[in-house]
């Protein structure tokens, strides 16, 4: 393994990080528009407005960058970077085929869960650094939500790991069997819901509810810094969708997976991502307390039930 390979792999991850969220963002624009009987972006780049998000990026770069007087400037400035890193680093360990993975880590599932937790810190930094009441309140809400949903998320992931007997995502995909679609279903539901909440996507977007706390922790952000938050949010959708696809949908498993493995993986990821977008369009926002109760009284017990089920199943089959 040479330095070159490492550089190449790193660059590939960075490219994915830049491209996939944009594709997803474009898709969101179009899907949402069509669901609402609109056309969505049609101008930028010509064909169905394909360059809309690039244009957005350029626009963000040209916007005036305002740092409020009350802000804690270093914290305020670094928060977007920290936010970016959480899913950028998670992307490293997402496998697309058994060999197509940027960094083959021994316990990649744990790794992904660990680094995606960095986002909480970024949100708190943003809220604290802004020197704004909305931001602070939003950050608290975010943090509370993120930690609450992280519990069922981790429990659900543990169930998959247990079923496969491996902590590596690749290993789990390898051990995947179609029967999982059935007996891992509760875990999958938990995983999907918790992932959506982790991303603070609607209907779990109370922390950034613009009618209550404007944009929550991001209230004071403008220009490229704000863009980085958005970028990491969409990258997060990609990572979580990919995780769901790998753990529950079997990743690259499918007909002709020898050659088309990564296609299957991408397709499944896209399908999950679509569901995430779809939910956004269809569901109203949950109130903060409903949101917490839902996590602790529905998702956590469900995840624990799944754990018990998995353990029983594994013991039974072993």
């Amino acid at each position: 393994m040479s330095v070159l390979e490492i550089v190449l792999r790193s660059v590939a991850v960075l490219v994915c990080f830049m491209v996939l969220p944009l594709v997803l963002g474009q898709a969101e624009h179009k899907v949402m528009a069509h669901m609402q009987g609109r056309l969505g972006p049609m101008e930028a780049g010509g064909f169905h407005g394909w360059a809309q998000l690039i244009a957005d990026g350029v626009k963000f770069a040209q916007k005036e960058d305002v740092v409020p007087r009350a802000a804690d400037k270093p914290v305020f400035g670094l928060a977007p970077a920290v936010s970016m890193f959480s899913y950028l680093l998670a992307l490293v360990a997402i496998p697309f085929t058994p060999s197509t993975v940027a960094g083959d880590l021994p316990a990649s599932l744990v790794y992904v869960l660990a680094v995606s937790g960095i986002g909480t810190i970024a949100t708190l930094m943003a809220g604290f650094g802004s020197g704004n009441k909305y931001a602070m309140l939003g950050a608290f809400r975010s943090a509370a939500q993120l930690v609450s949903y992280e519990v069922p998320l981790i429990l659900a992931c543990a169930s998959f790991a247990m079923a496969a007997g491996s902590l590596s995502i690749g290993g789990i995909v390898h051990a995947w069997h179609p029967i999982w679609l059935l007996w891992q279903l509760p875990g999958a539901i938990v995983l999907l819901i918790a992932a959506t909440a982790e991303l603070q996507r609607p209907p779990f977007d109370m922390p950034v509810a613009d009618s209550e706390v404007v944009m929550g922790a991001m209230t004071e952000y403008t220009g490229l810094r704000f863009a980085l938050f958005l970028l990491s949010e969409y990258a997060g959708i990609v990572v979580m969708s990919a995780l769901f696809a790998a753990l529950y949908l079997g990743g690259w498993n499918g007909p002709f997976d020898g050659a088309l493995g990564f296609v299957w993986m991408l397709l499944k990821t896209a399908a999950v991502a679509f569901v995430v977008l779809w939910v956004r369009m269809s569901w109203p926002r949950l109130r903060e307390d409903q949101l917490q109760r839902f996590a602790w009284f529905f998702l956590v017990p469900l995840a624990l039930f799944q754990l018990a089920l998995t353990a029983a199943g594994v013991i039974y089959t072993a």
């Binding site: 009350a70 020197g131 981790i154 543990a158």
Partner: protein, 123 residues
């Protein structure tokens, strides 16, 4: 060099790349973004009215309960992953299921108690 270490080297590379990316973005912002600060712009945003006080306000701090619950559950979830690995080991599997059952039961009792004491209810 084993593959595990290579994976972490990629992580390192991506980290450096990420730093580069962020730096580049900030440079671009510096170059492209206009700067025209004014008092009104730099004021804290509070839906357009004059800000009252600073950001360090007293507020209901019920979120702390979630933080505590999280610490309890998330840290204990750490034990689930090693368990996932040994579950198939003969002679250890059933015993570990019993142990984990007790462990999770304890957590559930704690959760039920917390709920009973109104930690999770709003207001």
């Amino acid at each position: 060099m084993n593959s595990g270490l290579l994976g972490y080297l990629v992580v390192l590379g991506v980290t450096l790349g990420g730093v580069g990316l962020f730096t580049a973005a900030m440079v671009v912002r510096r170059v492209l973004a206009p700067r025209a600060p004014s008092g009104a712009k730099l004021a804290t945003y509070e839906s357009g009215v004059d800000p009252s006080g600073g950001d360090w306000q007293q507020s209901g701090f019920r979120y702390v309960a979630y933080a505590f619950l999280y610490v309890v559950f998330a840290v204990d979830a750490v034990y689930l992953f090693p368990w996932a690995l040994v579950l198939r080991t003969s002679g250890l599997g059933v015993a570990s299921v019993v142990e984990m059952g007790i462990f999770i039961l304890v957590l559930l009792v704690g959760l039920a108690h917390a709920a009973r004491r109104g930690v999770l209810s709003w207001l």
